[in-house]
Symmetry: C2
């Protein structure tokens, strides 16, 4: 089917029609004058819902959350260089998550750019830091093809950034064809599969290390078959983007954050098949510790890195290692239902995790930016009803609240629980307003420990035991303590503060019974 | 004097000692693990105060405000690529203001960088978008020289960005010399001065268009002499960085925002001498309107663009055109004291401006990010007691609250009044916490019109009179209305809400009598 632009259609309308035809359904936007033609077109072209973020980090983080859950790109509409720059940190997380995402950035009119107006920046230098695909549109006739190419690029699991000059958005392009997005995965690489099969059957202690779509239900089920056939371990990286887990789903070990623990975990393997995960390396460089966590003596192979569908790759491998579909597999492979009880007493990161695991509904989406407070949660929640977990893939803080917005809009029938560190929450605190405006089913569990506690842990590692005033000033978030209840209410989100596990459990259960946004400040 | 590093001194300490020796007194920081050696060194090296911003846009905006007021660089300490990216938007404003500013960015250890750890980015690509000087440190022995060069670069009125690998910060460098910053302005260009003098004496209607330090008291006094001798006009750009003004100081006409008005203002001149200002161009490209506001028939000359001290340039020119120092000049040149009365009734942008002008104390620093609400303020405040005005130089919203922090720390004996639009305030709302922690004398007048009103004006220009739901969603900040009192209180800043001019006047007068931070939500 070839659509043609209607009479009088301009570049902005063509842009949106092409995106809508390719399946784009949502646009997280903070637009300015150069993007106004697109804002106006959003009301003329059906099929794309506009959601306002009152800071661009909210828009890009929401697009990341939406893309992680659906596997298809949301559009982020951003204003010139400064607007894009404000979204870079969360785009970095999206890049590391392998999220399909389409940025559209308005640029000054081509004839105005040489004037070096106040907002002029080198937008391409900025987009280049996070994009797998990028282009500056050259004419109104090219807009539809550019959008189609951008979306095809995004579907590979990367960020596409299309910069469109204002005059091209305004130009008429009636009669121009609407280009259809062409996308298909590369075929499975048979020789690579043979090498992976050989490694899995070698008798060496082998791990299958999963990332990206390999961590969704179908990928995990294929991995479980491979484990049943070969006895391999199933592991994931420290910060997986989006994984299905819980009772009835395969157990997956998660690489610990600190290098000694991570090295200890992987040292039990002599060979590693990496499927969609990054090469595991230490988060920072620590003197005397190798950056690379996999022992240099171990064998390793990356599979499915040539644009293949990772689900197809794992299912092929599962067939190859010879577990017939339908094999019954045991509790060693699949998690059984095992919810903790609500503990008693004052709140800690561990007790907070126990409460969440005790109460989280089946189908919940857990957005974990709890940082140090949520370290225990992964283990504790292993046997809860099936749910989806997202984590801070790129280490760029401020991802949690925006990501929760995107997840809630992607899956309106599933409750979102955002376990959120206070220091990180401050980065994109404006997200609360979008939660309120859109009435999203997001429960924010705000871990108020009033410090950048990860830095306190790093200081302790560096041997600093009695910090001076400047250290305390840069690591502490007390003085004044932030009143998260007032902040949430100020943005339109109802909120309460709790100090005990019993109170947390009561307030969380009540909040989960209601479909709107809610914030619980947990004084840790 | 040559200082030597003490025994056991590391790169981080050397970095700070070099900066302190060059006069750096303050560090606006949001540090992570790669910057911890600098955080630790801040307690070991005297002379630099650390101020925490809980988002990097706060840090860079505060460094901008500090640099605008003092003419010397603050340090912004930022964490890797994502931390720097979060600071880019306000660095863009600082770049357009000509603010001296020193960024220090921690990078992964040199040996860790190839591992492509989660936070790895192309930091140099990011710093390149805003920096006039940038370098990645190559060894611990080079750190002191790099810092000295960076500060010399900043003193030219630009942004310097120094990227320092973590291992270099930790390495010992005892015995290495502390390099002294060498900086001097270029000499006045005598031939350029002759051309400017000729233009001013040509009998053509000539304007002197001032920017940067030409807008501070000494520059303005030199400009006033030139006006007295030649009858030239004195104008400034739409968004000057930092200007002294008010009763007893020379009157300066400000270029209007919308192009028709700006063109009308400048069309009265046949020749323009530009001293420190940008070439005046329209803020956006508007179809059918030239980007360049100065008529193509008019003559123009830029002076002092070769690294000269703009004050020296203007004083040289004043001497050249022949007004002897000490000449008495009339009210046509200098503003006389003329405060408005407090008006009555409901609040509008104009009435808010009248209240501020009626009450602002002598010596006040006015940070104007009122956008549309504050359009009338400049004219209305022309005859108030002497004060300093800062505006949104680069058009990148979210500059006001951070800039107010920097100004308050630069000039602790002067009250800061931040006229702040709501949409812009949301970008760096976390600034309120730093105001509270540091107990800053900042009064925020929050213009709550619950919309991106500038976009409503642009939509009207584009002929959109009945916006549809997506337009309304992306331009309106109502639904829900933000409760600024709760938000301010949540961050530790006392606040009230007002709806009338009388109430605003009462609350502002009371707030000005107390030296701490305060926010007044003005329902417009």
């Amino acid at each position: 089917m070839t659509l043609k632009g209607e009479d009088g259609m301009n570049g902005a309308e063509m842009l949106l029609r092409t995106a809508a035809a390719a399946g784009v359904e949502i646009c997280f936007a903070n637009a300015g004058t150069t993007e106004l033609p697109i804002v106006i077109a959003l009301d003329a072209i059906p099929g794309i819902k506009a959601v306002l973020g009152v800071f661009e980090g909210v828009c890009t983080g929401a697009a990341d959350g939406y893309g992680r859950m659906t596997g298809k790109p949301a559009m982020a509409l951003l204003h010139l260089g400064p607007g894009f720059a404000n979204g870079v940190a969360n785009l970095h997380n999206a890049k590391r998550a392998g999220t399909p995402l389409l940025n559209v950035i308005g640029e000054h009119a081509t004839w105005h750019r040489p004037a070096n107006a106040p907002l002029t920046m080198d937008i391409e230098a900025l987009t280049g830091t996070v994009s797998g695909w990028q282009r500056t549109n050259a004419s109104v006739e090219d807009i539809s093809g550019d959008v189609a190419d951008a979306i095809a690029g995004a579907l590979l699991g990367q960020i596409s950034s299309l910069i469109v000059p204002h005059d091209h958005l305004l130009s008429e392009c009636s009669g121009t064809e609407i280009v259809k997005t062409k996308f298909s995965f590369a075929p499975v690489d048979v020789r690579e599969m043979e090498r992976a099969e050989q490694m899995l059957r070698s008798g060496k202690r082998t791990a299958l290390m999963l990332g990206r779509s390999a961590l969704r239900k179908r990928g995990l089920e294929a991995a479980a078959k491979i484990k049943a056939a070969t006895g391999c371990g199933i592991v994931t990286e420290t910060f997986p983007g989006c994984m299905d887990r819980g009772a009835g789903l395969p157990r997956v070990s998660r690489l610990p954050y600190f290098p000694e623990d991570a090295i200890a975990m992987l040292s039990q393997y002599e060979a590693i098949v990496i499927a969609g995960a990054h090469e595991p390396v230490t988060f920072f460089g620590y003197q005397g510790i190798d950056s690379y966590i996999i022992s240099r003596d171990a064998e390793k192979i990356h599979i499915g890195t040539g644009g293949q569908d990772m689900i197809a790759v794992l299912e092929y491998l599962a067939d190859a290692v010879g577990t017939p579909r339908g094999t019954v597999m045991d509790d060693q492979i699949f998690a059984s239902l095992d919810r903790p009880d609500v503990p008693a007493g004052g709140l800690t990161g561990e007790k907070m995790s126990l409460v969440v695991a005790a109460l989280q509904p089946e189908g919940a989406i857990i957005v974990d930016e709890g940082i140090t407070s949520a370290f225990p949660y992964y283990q504790i929640a292993a046997g809860t009803p099936p749910h989806t977990l997202m984590t801070i893939t790129g280490g760029s803080i401020g991802y949690g609240m925006p990501c929760a917005i995107g997840a809630a809009l992607a899956c309106p029938d599933r409750p979102v629980i955002n376990i959120q560190a206070d220091g990180s929450a401050l980065y994109t605190v404006q997200s609360l307003w979008t939660e309120a405006r859109e009435g999203l089913n997001v429960k924010t569990l705000l871990c108020s420990n009033r410090s950048y506690h990860i830095l306190e842990m790093e200081l302790a590692r560096a041997g600093i035991t009695s910090p001076g005033p400047n250290i305390r000033s840069l690591v502490g978030l007390d003085g004044p303590a932030i009143d998260w209840v007032k902040i949430a209410q100020g943005f339109g989100v109802p909120a309460v503060s709790v100090r005990s596990t019993e109170d947390l459990a009561r307030k969380l259960a009540a909040a989960l019974a209601d479909p709107g946004p809610f914030l619980i400040e947990m004084i840790l």
